[in-house]
């Protein structure tokens, strides 16, 4: 059981760490949103995938986990989409873009 769970959770943590690093180090709003929306969702997916193999997991907790995972996978990219769309429409320019580019 834990031979599957631990690598999955470790990989998920690595993706979340990369996501946090990207949030701090990437240059502008769009690239940061890119880091958060994708790798954070994948990290969550991997961590929950690992938790499903955890020996202490009861069936009703598994159903709850499944719901949380489905909600996070839908809501997280949508929230970032709405945020970046609003930024684009309010005139925020991407990194290195010149006046007439966008």
């Amino acid at each position: 059981m834990s031979i599957v769970a631990i690598p999955l959770i470790g990989a998920g943590l690595a993706f979340l760490a990369v996501s946090a690093l990207g949030l701090f180090r990437l240059p502008d709003l769009y690239t940061r949103g890119h880091a958060v929306a994708k790798s954070e969702t994948l990290g969550l997916l991997l961590i929950f995938g690992g938790l499903f193999f955890h020996p202490a997991l009861t069936p009703d907790a598994a159903v709850r986990l499944l719901f949380v995972l489905a909600f996070a996978m839908i809501a997280n990219p949508t929230a970032v989409h709405a945020l970046l769309r609003a930024a684009r429409r309010s005139g925020q320019r991407p990194w290195h873009a010149k006046e007439g580019d966008v």
């Binding site: 839908i74 949508t78 989409h81 709405a82 769309r85």
Partner: protein
């Protein structure tokens, strides 16, 4: 507030998710007397389920699903229920919200408290739901 949100992704996702958010809020309310949660948190989550369509869908559509009378109605009923739950033990000779004093036949004191707390949680949840929907409607200028 200006009608439908321009992004189709946001519109569809909010439409699909808002009933689930509302059901989760009901779960939090019903869960409140023996776990994390309760009337306040659950009421807020149910209200989000009602406010999300108002922010993202076309205005007439959202207000047809949950009309603006819902806010004052739910808030008033919730407040009334809370006061009734609180005052009923006082009429039976106990303190405010002291359900044990009700002495319902064939029901032990712990059970009466359990059900009483559940009833108060539901009342608080209704009041919070109504208040938040009313606040949103006042801010959006749709109190008709």
């Amino acid at each position: 507030m200006t009608g439908g949100y321009p992004s189709e992704v946001v519109r569809v996702v909010c439409t699909v998710l808002s009933p689930f958010i509302a059901v989760f809020g009901l779960y939090v309310i019903a869960h409140g007397h023996y776990g994390p949660g309760g009337g306040f948190a659950g009421g807020v989550i149910v209200a989000v389920g009602a406010i999300l369509p108002r922010m993202t869908l076309a205005e007439d559509l959202a207000y047809r699903a949950i009309p603006s009378i819902t806010g004052p109605l739910a808030g008033g009923i919730g407040m009334l229920l809370f006061i009734l739950c609180g005052v009923a033990p006082m009429l039976a000779g106990g303190a405010f919200l002291d359900y044990e004093a009700l002495a319902i036949a064939g029901m032990e004191a712990a059970r009466a408290r359990y059900l009483g707390i559940l009833a108060v949680e539901i009342a608080v949840g209704l009041a919070v739901f109504g208040a938040l929907v009313l606040i949103y409607d006042v801010l959006a200028g749709r109190t008709d």
